[in-house]
Amino acid sequence: MVDPIHIISSALGVAFAIGIVGKLGKNVTIAVMLSTLAFMAFISLQWFMAFFSGEQETTQIFTAGFKPPISINLQMGFNEALFTLLVNVVGLLGGIYLIDIFKKQSKNVLTVFLVLIMGLNVIIMTRDIFNLFVFMEIVSISIAGLVFMDENLKSSQAGLKYLIATSVIAGMLLIGIIFAYYFTGTLNIDDLIATNLTTIKGGGIVVFLILISIILELKPFPANGWALDVYESSTPGLGAIISAAAATASFFVLSKVMDIAGQEWYYYISLIGAITFIGSNLLGLKQDNAKRLLGYSSIGQLGLLMIILGFRDILGDQTPYVIFGILVSHYFAKAGLFWLSGIVKAQKLTDWAVIRKKPFFLFLMGTFLFALIGFPPFPSFFAKWTLVMELVGSGNVTWVIIVLFGSMLEAVYLFRWFGYAIKGENEHLEVFKIDLHKMIPVWIVALALYAVGYFTAQMTEVGATINFIPLAFVGVLLAIDFLPVFVKNTIAIAGMLLHFYFVYPDLDDIRLLFEVIFIIGGALALIAGYAYKGKRSGFYPVAILMYAGLTGIIEASTTLEFFYGWELMTAGSYFLIIRGKRSMPHGLSYILFSIGGAYALLAGLGMAHVGHTTFGMDILNNIQYLPVWAYALIIIGFLTKTAALGLHIWLPGAHGEAESDVSPMVSAILLKAGVFGLVLVLIGMGAENNQYEMLTYALGWLGALTVILGSIMALFQEDAKRLLAYSSISQLGYIVLGLAVMSHLGWLGAFTYVINHFLYKFILFMTLGAVVLRVGTHNMYQMGGLIKRMPIAFIAVLISIIALAGIPPLSGFAGKWLFYNALIAKGWYFQGVITFISSGIAFLYLWRLIHTVFLGQLKDNHRNVKDISIWFSIPIFVLLIGLLTFSFKPEWVLQPLGNMIAEFFPTGQLTWNGGTAISQYGYWSGSVLGITIGSIFMLILIWLLVSTRKAHKVKQFDITYSGERPERPETTHVAYNVFEGVYKAIWIATIPLVETFWTRVTNLLHDTAGFTRRLYSGDGQSYMLHIVVFIVITYLVIIGG
């Protein structure tokens, strides 16, 4: 194996030689430099592989032939090998990326670049603290110099500020080193650790000076303005190096030097990390410059790593894994994003919309952003999971909150950025051009992210069980994205059905029910996709991603698998939702609430894991650590998906603005994921556990309030799909309430609702979506009289709203009936009354829906519209048949469901006598109801048809109009603001308190960010002041206090 010292010797040798080699021409010089970088990377790789296989032991490299502390020594262990590998790889790729600048610039730039990478290698490997100082100076100087690669006013300023700041920091470090030597007589880090400096009088301050300087190198908030300026002004290729390589190396230095300090410092490092993480992510909120935003994000990520470093005692064996996961994701993603920003050449975030003109870049950007935030299958996901598990396990819930809150803030601005990229206005922007040498590094890091994610998952016991086949299917669909819709749709449906075929024998009844809803329902929803022409680029991968997540949560046998599926589903559904025309803000609020919920879920699962050795789903049955809080957190996590009151504001927009066939997917199917989760956790809580009574009671009220307020909001919508979306909120409220009852009847009612809501909301969204496709507007008052043009759609909507309103004999009634029986048995009378009123209101808005869209006056421009597409009709009618069957033979489904629920709630069962359901309060039979009402109905209908057989068919304006004629359909159609009178009476219930609340929260955050960031006045001197203040305050807190 090649001696690691040759990393230095080759780099420096070539750097020095460039003065001669440079005479051979630019291209040769660049080639020589790149091959040197490759050689350095090769050395690290070689060592890394050796360590990875476990055969190699940590090696010391002695210079000058003397043992430390006599001379300087380098160390090559697993960590060093890994970190140098990271640095050298990004150095090589960055070198390739920068080729065009290298060609333009003097050959000296090559030298500086090479020396920078070399310096980073040395600060990772060296075990001598003064040597560390020297090479840190080399790194600072070369970075400051490279800032000038792209020389302009801004980069000159940034370079100067950076240089001044780092030299002051280095000065502090030097003072620390001087006195370290003075007190101990050695400069070797291992010796310094051994001497236990903090026990020496005055040693504490030495340690303080050394550590604070190294921490300052990591750019802690708020003493980091200088670094941000460099991120913003330097050329993106350099930004990538700083963010990925330099920060990585500096972090490693901290982890290495930290041992000098001893454990009492760990807490403070975590604290500084926390402040940095939260602070810089908060300020990121106000950013509109892409590179500066990335800078904030980089600093935030380093803060997170510092937190983890401070907890390394608690994390124990898991520390390397966690750090590796987070660091590697950050490393690849940040490098990729910086490089991307160099390709896209968009300064303002809003200008990133141009990236959409080359869709594959959008994919790359998405990969990087999702990796940064910690979505599966990227390493950061597994790392965050492990981190939270361990932190909760050791009782550090506050820290979990800090970590998750900071991540949340980061998600906000990253997804807003992504939103601009996906949906922003891009017509005025020029297409960027792509150089091959710039593409290659981006590609490599993107692919590496996936590969490393896979390996990270395999590395641990928990992760190894995760099934990557659905993801592979997503990858396949991504690869064949150029094919026409027809082919892709067929493949997608076939894939889903095949999956179902393989999976269903292993599922118990509850899971089977949800799997049918998710997969069979999903396949049905996809049928509508045949109606689309062209490629429908990007739709199938994300749809399948969502279904992969959904089936993942069903098949999960461990909590990690569950969470993995949950996050996949979130990501997929986010992409689906944001495909809609005006759905950018809604997509953002969706993903933010989802992430918030997912974090609550994560924390809850972490608490559930405490006291268990495995991660099996059965740990939910027996939570030992703060069980009420744990259950509450998990439930909140699921409630964000079911859009319970307070967490619902994402839903109307997200569902309303989604594409026609996406709305049923995200409403009828996706929302059930939250329900499934609730079912699991409530089963876990157990039927007869009085401990959780308050929790279920609160859940019940939440459900009831969701029901009524959802209905009331639906009443005043003008947008058909938003109306349905609010209706979904209300319906999900019923399900939550039913589950919260925690009795046999309640659950049966809730499950009936699950099935019903799936059936009728699918039909409604699908039909309305198809109608919207035909008429080109969402606004109900712009439609009208469509029954004449779209009888099929009308029938579908009619039947499903009868079911939705709970009118006998259709199946909605079954749900309501079970529901009130359950509520009265439970003694939740007011909740029952509230839900009852709400179904009255539901009837109002449903009437309005069908009336304003299908009845009334046909609008002039809809005269020639055709009925909904056949491809939309197929799933609609399949489910209509299902709905009718379920209505008239509810026992076919409810009886097995009842038996299944009896496992958990053995008492108070619904008994069946043939088709008659009997509860303690009464009995009822779906088929008898159906037959009775159906026969009367038919009888009367036939009579009427016979007696009016000669009726004259009139047209739309043939109405009595006080002897006049209507002027236009628009002025004759009662559709806009129909319930004005109702509004006057109950306006008080429509005050958007929740929305106001969340708006205030976001405004508060943004205002805080806007205020705080004035700290970065741009004045280099004030940055210096920040550094000194930071030092003094930290001193006062740590030593002086």
Binding site: W847, F854, L929, Y961, I986
Partner: protein
């Protein structure tokens, strides 16, 4: 009981109810006329009107849903009759209990809407703006009425621990003091006030609101359709009264008792209507949110502890 015998009883009962409904309507108008010092319509006027409407020679149609409107309305009325135990005879499977599942309250409350829905949709296809306005008002008022009504009904359900009308009636047998009117006065009061809205007379007659929005939902309906709707109206009025009778006034042991009680219940709403002018929709809704609502809440509080 044999299903055919039961069917026969049911048909007979339906006949009685329809005719009683029409007679009751005529009587109310007669009473109104007499109060105004007029002679008023003859008692047989509703039947003549029905006959005339069925005998129009030309008729129009606006489309399929226009047909279905009256059909829904009438099946809603008849269904309501079928699901309501009419006369209490001491046996669950008695002759006048129809096909009522012992009179399931949830079923009846939801089935009320069936007729309304058909009416709403049929009128909607007529395309007349006044129809839509009338329906919007009607549905809104219906929802508002349901607030005190449901509170009271839930209170009664708690009181007797059942959702079956039959059992509620059974529990009120014996003495007049067993009536809900006396055992659960708050619920009874809430229902009595809610009745005003449910029966749709002035001041809660803004659905039809004659001379304001013509005749509301029925504006476009004529001839046979109107006849169907009048029939359905007669049935539904009686059934509403019977519902309240069963819930609050001890049910009926014979048809005579049923006729007397339903007449009085219906008269109560007409009586109030004679005195008060029409509410606007927001006034109507807020009215139910005041006293009746408080009474309903008290009723539940009274029985939930």
């Amino acid at each position: 009981m044999n299903i055919y015998v039961k069917l026969a009883y049911t048909l007979l009962g339906l006949l009685i109810v329809i005719n009683w409904g029409m007679l009751m309507g005529a009587t109310m108008r007669k009473i109104g006329a007499r109060m105004a010092g007029r002679h008023g319509i003859p008692f047989h006027q509703p039947w003549i009107n029905l006959l005339k409407n069925f005998s129009t020679r030309t008729t129009i149609t606006h489309g399929i849903m226009y047909y279905l409107g009256p059909v829904f309305r009438l099946s809603g009325g008849v269904g309501l009759f079928l699901f309501m135990p009419m006369v209490f005879t001491g046996a669950v499977d008695g002759p006048w209990t129809n096909f009522s599942f012992e009179g399931d309250l949830v079923l009846i409350l939801y089935f009320q809407v069936f007729g309304m829905l058909g009416m709403a949709l049929g009128a909607g296809e007529g395309g007349h703006p006044y129809s839509a306005m009338g329906i919007a008002r009607g549905l809104a008022q219906h929802a508002a009425v349901e607030l005190p009504l449901t509170l009271a009904i839930v209170s009664i359900a708690i009181q007797y621990d059942t959702l079956s009308i039959y059992k509620i009636v059974e529990a009120q047998q014996g003495s007049i003091l067993n009536w809900v009117l006396f055992t659960n006065p708050f619920a009874a009061a809430a229902i009595i006030l809610a009745m005003l809205g449910a029966l749709g007379h002035s001041p809660f007659n803004l659905v039809k609101a004659p001379n304001e929005i013509l005749i509301g939902p029925a504006t476009e309906y004529e001839g046979t359709y109107l006849g169907f709707m009048m029939t359905a109206g007669a049935v539904i009025h009686v059934m509403e009264a019977v519902l309240f009778m069963n819930l609050v006034f001890g049910g009926a042991n014979s048809w005579l008792e049923l006729i007397v009680k339903s007449f009085l219940i219906y008269f109560w709403s007409v009586f109030v209507g004679m005195v008060f002018p029409r509410f606007k929709i927001e006034q109507s809704i807020t009215w139910f949110f005041k006293v009746p609502f408080v009474l309903g809440v008290l009723a539940i509080l009274m029985y939930s502890f």
